[in-house]
């Protein structure tokens, strides 16, 4: 199983989206998961596809084709606005 986290505006769009993926395919990637959401959550999938959105695995920024493993924490991060 992997956990999914959506921050900022993505969190509002992900209210009905899954918070985890129970059975992970062996070639799963953040990109694959984003594409998987297209059917049931088109608005979220579109927002995730914006070029400024970053993705992290286990709290480290990674590329969208990073392989995912059992137990990973996958987070989708819109542009940050702290300070």
């Amino acid at each position: 199983m992997i956990n999914l986290l959506f921050f900022g505006r993505l969190g509002d769009l992900a209210k009905d989206a899954p918070t985890c993926i129970a059975s992970l395919e062996s070639d799963a990637t953040p990109l694959g998961i984003r594409q998987m959401m297209k059917a049931d959550h088109p608005e979220l999938s579109k927002a995730l596809s914006e070029p400024q959105v970053l993705v992290s695995v286990n709290k480290m920024i990674v590329k969208w084709d990073q392989p995912l493993f059992e137990g990973d924490e996958l987070a989708f991060l819109p542009p940050v606005t702290g300070g």
């Binding site: 992290s56 819109p78 940050v80 606005t81 702290g82 300070g83």
Partner: protein, 163 residues
């Protein structure tokens, strides 16, 4: 460890944080502090002239990742300048106009390092640390967009030669 990095809902005391930096050791010859506050008016993106009256800001962050990123930013500042100690405090949750939102304090032997490092820390914090702001203004909610002026300010530090 003389540095302090903290993400908290609670308010902080500028006087206490200044005293902590001042009293670290007698090498300290300069303390620069910066405090960011919530403004009562916010312009919406692309409409700089239409300002909305702010009810409050909601600060969200990614627990665990934010602290790691802030530690890393502090380490970068200490690698770049000769600093005695650094404090970064960032608040989360609901904050009203005039509330304190962020504190950066730098203690060093000489003032230039403290001034420059404080500016660097704020510029990096704005563009690198995993915080998101939701604005509630005149009853409606809106996630704030990142400002290109903030990215430009942070990018400037990677162009600059080591000083």
């Amino acid at each position: 460890m003389s540095d302090l990095v903290c993400v908290q809902a609670d308010d902080f005391s500028l006087a206490d944080e200044y005293q902590r930096l001042r009293n670290i050791n007698a090498q300290v010859g300069a303390v620069v502090t910066f405090c960011g506050l919530v403004r009562d008016f916010e312009s919406s993106a692309g409409e700089p002239k239409s300002k909305k009256l702010v009810n409050y800001l909601t600060l969200q962050h990614y627990p665990g990742m934010t602290e790691t990123l802030l530690d890393d930013i502090v380490m970068q500042a200490k690698a770049r300048w000769d600093l005695v100690a650094v404090t970064v405090i960032h608040r989360i949750g609901n904050l009203a106009p005039n509330d304190q939102i962020v504190f950066v304090g730098v203690a060093s032997e000489h003032r230039k390092a403290a001034f420059d490092a404080a500016q660097f820390l704020m510029d990096y914090l704005k563009t690198k640390a995993t915080f998101w702001k939701k604005l509630t203004a005149e009853g409606s909610e809106q996630w704030l967009d990142a400002k290109s002026s903030d990215s430009d300010a942070a990018a400037k530090w990677s162009e600059d030669s080591h000083d």
